[in-house]
């Protein structure tokens, strides 16, 4: 019997379990679906992948004009455009990837109803496809940093930690909303609004330091607060606020577990109701 795959088909169980072996077996599918989403993202657009450059650069320009005229933030020694760009590239990744992932089942109905694969691959690949844009915007950030003669310290080595936190957070919310979207198309209307509120509540275009000392730890429950603050600290050689980062890390893990739980609980019905 060696080497023969045995599949047991059973009604939906009452407990939730994640089959890691099954996921590993489908890792190539994750790769291909991500590749597909990357390839079709800018198909039939006139300027193609230039959008990945224009989106952050134009937004930073607008923010700079608005906030350097009307509201001066104390950004310490960091030039405002650089601060805004560092926040924006993470935000744009989070925003675009969650939006893309949330519709991944609804727009791939034919896959869900005609073939089996671990369902979580679909929102995960939609979210991961955003990494290409993120990589492009990191290059822009590097060019900005050179232009502003930013001094890079050893701390920059910690930056990937915060990027990974952002990716985990994004995949988690992406899977959560993709699952909810299968049953409740309300997600389509509610999500853009929620994302907008989330952006304003997160230190994207302002530094985390302007949040009052007393409320900073409450704001840190928002995982993006610690991610953005930690990412900036590592880039610009500012002291880390480990308390804020710690709280955000915990809430990232909580979001991830909660999303996974909801997803596993809902996924058995996808093919029947999507």
């Amino acid at each position: 019997m060696q080497g023969i795959e045995i599949t047991k088909i059973k009604p939906s169980g009452s407990w939730i379990h994640l089959d890691i072996r099954e996921l590993l077996r489908h890792r190539e599918l994750l790769y291909f679906l991500t590749l597909r989403d990357v390839k079709i993202r800018y198909k039939q657009t006139a300027i193609g992948v230039a959008w990945a450059v224009l989106q952050p650069v134009l937004t930073v320009a607008i923010f700079t004009v608005i906030f350097s005229r009307f509201a001066q933030f104390d950004t310490g020694k960091i030039p405002y455009p650089l601060l805004a760009l560092s926040g924006l590239i993470i935000w744009l990744f989070v925003h675009n990837a969650i939006s893309m992932a949330s519709t991944s089942f609804v727009s791939n109905t034919n896959l869900v109803t005609k073939v089996y694969f671990p369902r979580i691959i679909l929102p995960a690949s939609a979210a991961l496809a955003g990494l290409v844009d993120l990589a492009i915007s990191l290059v822009i950030l590097a060019l900005f940093a050179i232009y502003y003669r930013t001094i890079v310290t050893w701390q920059v080595a910690l930056a990937p930690i915060f990027l990974i936190m952002a990716i985990v957070l994004t995949i988690s919310f992406g899977t959560l909303f993709s699952a909810l979207n299968v049953r409740f198309r309300d997600v389509k209307f509610a999500l853009p609004f929620m994302l907008q509120v989330w952006m304003i509540a997160s230190p994207v275009f302002y530094p985390a330091s302007i949040l009052s000392e007393k409320w900073q730890l409450v704001f840190a429950i928002n995982p993006l607060t610690g991610i953005l603050d930690g990412f900036r600290s590592s880039l610009f050689g500012v002291a880390f606020d480990w308390q804020v980062i710690g709280i955000s890390l915990v809430s990232t893990v909580v979001v991830a577990l909660f999303s996974l739980f909801v997803f596993k609980w809902m996924e058995d019905d996808f093919a029947d109701i999507v």
Binding site: E5, K10, P11, L33, V112, K114, R183, D186
Partner: protein, 401 residues
């Protein structure tokens, strides 16, 4: 060793609105807790049990809504059973649709990889079979063209080629052969035959009883979600024909695929009063009524209705451009074709309907459906056994010379 053991599988669906589909709906529902909702349930499968031995080729047949597709979906793990279970030994590959995973913006080459990965092939495996897939599909020169520019035929050929090169231990196939031109269909049938000969276990759902009996050794007949019979394919097919004749003059497509651009989903023979029937009086007109779903009109597509005699040869063929009949509209239409009375001679017949293109490509073909009898209710030929197939109001003239 049993490769597939299915034990008491049942599947319940809720028709309509048992589950809330929006938050508003959910709130409304919560305000009405306790209302019974069970009226809307439907058992697509009920206590289905059977075994499939290693290397067996099982044909699954049954009418529309008999539960065939649901069964395949459960065995492919796309959906879960409500009760019961199954044990499957070996890697399963399922083809429930032609072109699963194809994306119209990607090129043929990219889609081969994409579709292969979705059907469960590894990258190395796809690379190894790549040339064979391309050769089988006959689309070499369009390999780097996005498939949205392909004709339906090219698209189908490529899609089937990827699928045909899947080499799982167990293959589950649902009615994928109903498309493509005749030549390619034969090629596909040959491939299916090859697969079954290679010792793999195959589950095959099709309406084409001919190809089914050719490829499969055993059959399973589902009727209203239950196993009606299970045994040698010939016996199961004849059981099916017995069942089918209970609903006279009616044909419904088993796996109607709403994503198709154009599809005939139902064919009914009706008498002059509009009743479905399989007995027509020789002197009365009757109608062939087709239900067709059109999502997108393809230029030049034609309907064809042909009357087949008992030897399955055409008595007459009529065709008409689809655009001419329905205009530029999309949606569901009922197309009626009138056969005048006093024309078809008393005998046994069936129909063949097609959607085809003048270049010979056949989009859909339903052959030998709606068997019916034209009965003699008092013609002056009643005492003869064989009337031929048409009766004409010929005239006799005599002149003395």
């Amino acid at each position: 060793m049993k490769t597939i053991q299915v034990e008491n599988i049942s599947k319940r669906y809720y028709l309509g609105d048992r589950l809330p589909n929006s938050v508003r709906d959910l709130i409304v529902r919560l305000l009405h807790v306790g209302r019974k909702v069970d009226k809307n349930e439907l058992w697509a499968l009920r206590d289905v049990s059977f075994d499939v031995a290693e290397g067996e080729t099982l044909g699954i047949i049954g009418r529309n809504g008999a539960g065939k597709s649901t069964l395949l979906k459960i065995l492919s793990r796309i959906t879960k059973p409500t009760n019961g279970g199954a044990t499957i030994r070996g890697r399963v590959g399922s083809l429930l649709e032609v072109g699963t995973g194809f994306h119209s913006e990607l090129t043929g080459r990219e889609n081969i990889y994409m579709s292969g990965a979705i059907l469960g092939m590894h990258r190395a495996e796809i690379e190894r079979k790549f040339d064979a897939i391309v050769a089988f599909s006959e689309i070499e020169q369009f390999l780097d063209t996005p498939v949205k520019h392909y004709s339906t035929g090219m698209y189908t050929r490529l899609a089937f080629s990827v699928a045909a090169h899947l080499e799982p231990e167990i293959l589950i196939v649902d009615e994928v052969l109903a498309v493509g031109d005749t030549g390619f269909q034969n090629k596909c049938l040959g491939k299916m035959d090859e697969v079954s000969r290679s010792g793999r276990t195959v589950l095959f759902v099709s309406h084409n009883l001919g190809s089914l009996s050719q490829i499969c050794k055993t059959g399973l007949l589902l009727h209203h979600g239950e196993v009606h019979s299970h045994g040698l394919i010939q016996d199961v097919v004849s059981d099916y024909l017995k069942l089918a004749s209970e609903q006279p003059g009616h044909f419904t497509l088993a796996a109607s695929d709403d994503s198709r651009e154009m599809q005939i989903s139902e064919v009914v023979i009706t008498d002059h009063k509009g009743r479905a029937t399989n007995e027509i009086s020789y002197d009365e007109e009757f109608f062939v009524s087709l239900k067709i779903n059109i999502n997108h009109i393809q230029r030049g597509a034609m309907f064809c209705v042909a009357l087949l005699n008992k030897y399955k040869r055409r008595v007459f063929t009529e065709h008409r451009a689809i655009e001419e009949l329905v205009g530029n509209k999309t949606g569901q239409f009922r197309v009626k074709f009138r056969v005048p009375g006093d024309f078809v001679a008393p005998n046994n017949y069936s129909f063949l309907v097609q959607i085809f293109f003048p270049d010979g490509e056949v989009l859909q073909e339903l052959g030998d459906i709606c068997p019916f009898i034209v009965v003699d209710t008092g013609s002056n030929l009643a005492s003869y056994k064989d009337y031929g197939y048409v009766q004409i109001k010929g005239e006799w003239h005599v002149v003395r010379e």
